[in-house]
């Protein structure tokens, strides 16, 4: 339902997004039936397609040509998909968006080859664009995203990490790819550098807000809404913002400390989720997300008014208030 609402916000882009959806299907076409099935399985599980949306919207601030824009929008979504299929191996996830993951449906090896295949398709596709700057930005982003994930594993189960560690991690994990989507959309549509910088920063702030909300929802949503048990981040040892805020209370701190890394029973898990949910942590985390959202909106104020600006603003508000 929420996803439908989000899609309504960018319904103006529907014809272009339908075209991109078709291109994505073509892009994962493979002579290997197995890779074809696994990639389509992933693709058909759906998604918000927020990265292509930001590429297209950023392009509206320059000389918008869908044939050029899709050369960036498609590979960025493919890169995101490739990372998801590998993330499911890392997290040992059985379901994603309510459907079995590639690793659950087949096995880890097939998930690895599927991710490699999709990533290679993305690079094959984007290297049609002969822009060294674009490739510098994207390759740097890819490396930073990986660094973020490596740090996330390093930081697992470390309850005493600080807020800066968390923010740096989510910047790499989520915000950078959204930021690059905006920047690359601006770049290929030939906007001036100032506009591109505002768009890049907008993407960064919105990406930060998006990830914080995601981390909040892990505690405030139901298992059904999430398609996985609430509190999964804590169970996996990922110390997210709600946990960092909740631990300030000594009693909650002890509860978290004593259960971190433990095989939790169902009542224990529900108790932890309820404790965090009922604490002030959710409101504190929301306030930090809101600050990023405001910064994103400030960036939009520097950009020319028009439909793209309006849609970006609506998406920003939606992200700040989304329920899952």
């Amino acid at each position: 339902m929420e996803k439908v609402k989000l899609k309504l916000l960018y319904s103006d882009l529907k014809p272009e997004l339908d075209m991109i959806e078709k291109e994505l299907e073509q892009a994962v076409d493979s002579e290997s039936l197995l890779l074809n099935d696994a990639s389509l399985h992933l693709l058909q599980a759906g998604g918000k397609r927020i990265r292509p949306v930001f590429v297209l919207l950023a392009g509206k601030f320059g000389n918008y040509n869908i044939d050029v824009m899709k050369q960036v929008a498609v590979p960025l979504e493919l890169i995101h998909m490739a990372s998801l299929v590998h993330d499911d191996v890392i997290d040992d996830s059985e379901t994603r968006r309510g459907k079995p993951t590639v690793k659950a449906e087949w096995n880890n090896s097939v998930a690895m080859y599927t991710g490699d295949f999709i990533l290679a398709r993305a690079l094959e596709y984007i290297s049609e664009i002969d822009s060294p700057k674009l490739h510098h930005i994207l390759s740097k982003t890819m490396i930073e995203v990986c660094r973020g994930e490596i740090i996330q594993i390093e930081d697992k189960y470390k309850l005493d990490q600080n807020l800066r560690d968390y923010l740096r991690r989510i910047k790499r994990k989520t915000a950078l790819l959204i930021s690059s989507s905006c920047e690359l959309g601006a770049l290929v549509s030939g906007t001036d550098e100032k506009t591109a910088a505002h768009l890049r920063r907008f993407g960064y702030f919105i990406g930060m807000s998006f990830q914080i909300i995601d981390d909040i929802l892990d505690f405030t949503s139901t298992d059904e809404e999430l398609g996985k048990p609430a509190g999964s981040d804590f169970i996996q040892g990922n110390i997210t913002l709600p946990i960092l805020c909740a631990r300030k209370n000594p009693e909650v701190y002890s509860l978290l400390k004593n259960n971190l890394g433990k095989e939790l029973t169902e009542p224990e898990r529900l108790h932890i989720v309820k404790t965090v949910r009922d604490s002030t942590a959710i409101d504190e985390a929301k306030a930090i997300s809101e600050r990023y959202l405001q910064k994103a909106l400030e960036e939009l104020a520097y950009l020319p008014k028009g439909n793209a600006n309006k849609t970006m603003r609506k998406i920003a508000f939606f992200i700040g208030k989304r329920k899952f």
């Binding site: 197995l34 890779l35 096995n107 880890n108 094959e124 060294p132 660094r147 490596i150």
Partner: protein
């Protein structure tokens, strides 16, 4: 170029590649990047053979080596094992190395090579996946997949820089090395995807062992024949035959013994 100089050049390249992909956490918790000396040798073969060589070609050769390391890391992920820290970081190691190779080629402004290598990775991934699709395959089909997995990236590099004539020999020698490793695994009691597929096709591990031994003899004969069609100097040829693919005829021995 004598043996010592060849070794020294390979080592120097190995150090460069390892430096390019160095990452503290990955180094600590994973097996580290696989940079096989035999592969480095083939990437440097035009240089050893005194063909036109440049800093740009050598940098590209390094990126090919990094792609191999990326794909190899993902081969190490256990098929059905749960996510240990080592396994998690091995997944990320492969992705990290992929980012590095892309960045290196982007820094060289070699966008065409990015595309050509991406196409090669697609083919390699498709062939690797074929060992998991459960379809019946002949040994000839399996052999073709192994050849492509082992040489597609190298062949792409050769083709890009006009060194195609080395591809047939490299294909034979890299296949030889792969099958030799597979034989060692089989004889050591471990089962790889290739061995499993061969066992399924040939229906018994003993038949697989026999097939591998014959394959190695056959490849060796082809290597001996093919290598003479190149104008390699004595040292280089000697290095290839004795250091890269040293061989002992074993299929005949097995027949006599068994």
């Amino acid at each position: 170029m004598n043996e010592q100089l060849i070794h020294s050049k390979i080592t120097s390249m190995e150090i460069d590649v390892l430096r390019a992909v160095k990452q503290r956490t990955l180094e600590k918790f994973t097996e580290g990047p696989s940079v096989e000396r035999a592969r480095l040798f083939f990437l440097l073969l035009p240089y050893f053979d005194e063909k036109h060589w440049s800093g740009e070609i050598e940098a590209s050769a390094k990126t090919v080596s990094i792609v191999y390391a990326a794909l190899h890391a993902h081969d190490q992920v256990k098929e059905n094992a749960s996510a240990t820290k080592k396994q998690q970081l091995t997944v990320l190691a492969g992705d990290f190395y992929s980012g590095i190779y892309y960045q290196m080629l982007a820094n060289l402004n070699n966008i065409t090579m990015i595309q050509r290598l991406a196409t090669a990775i697609i083919k390699v991934s498709e062939k690797k996946a074929s060992f998991h699709d459960g379809l019946d395959r002949t040994t000839a089909e399996l052999d073709r997949s192994v050849q492509q997995i082992e040489t597609e990236l190298l062949a792409t590099f050769y083709n890009f820089y006009g060194f195609d004539h080395y591809t047939p020999l490299a294909t034979l020698m890299l296949s030889y090395i792969r099958y030799k490793d597979e034989l060692e695994c089989l004889q050591g009691g471990s089962e790889t995807r290739i061995i499993r597929s061969l066992n399924e096709t040939l229906q018994h591990p003993l038949h697989t062992e026999r097939w591998l031994l014959e394959k190695l003899d056959n490849l060796h004969d082809q290597i001996s024949l093919t290598i003479n069609s190149y104008n390699f100097n004595y040292d280089l040829k000697n290095f290839m035959l004795h250091q890269i693919t040293p061989h002992q005829h074993r299929a005949e021995q097995l027949t006599r013994e068994g």
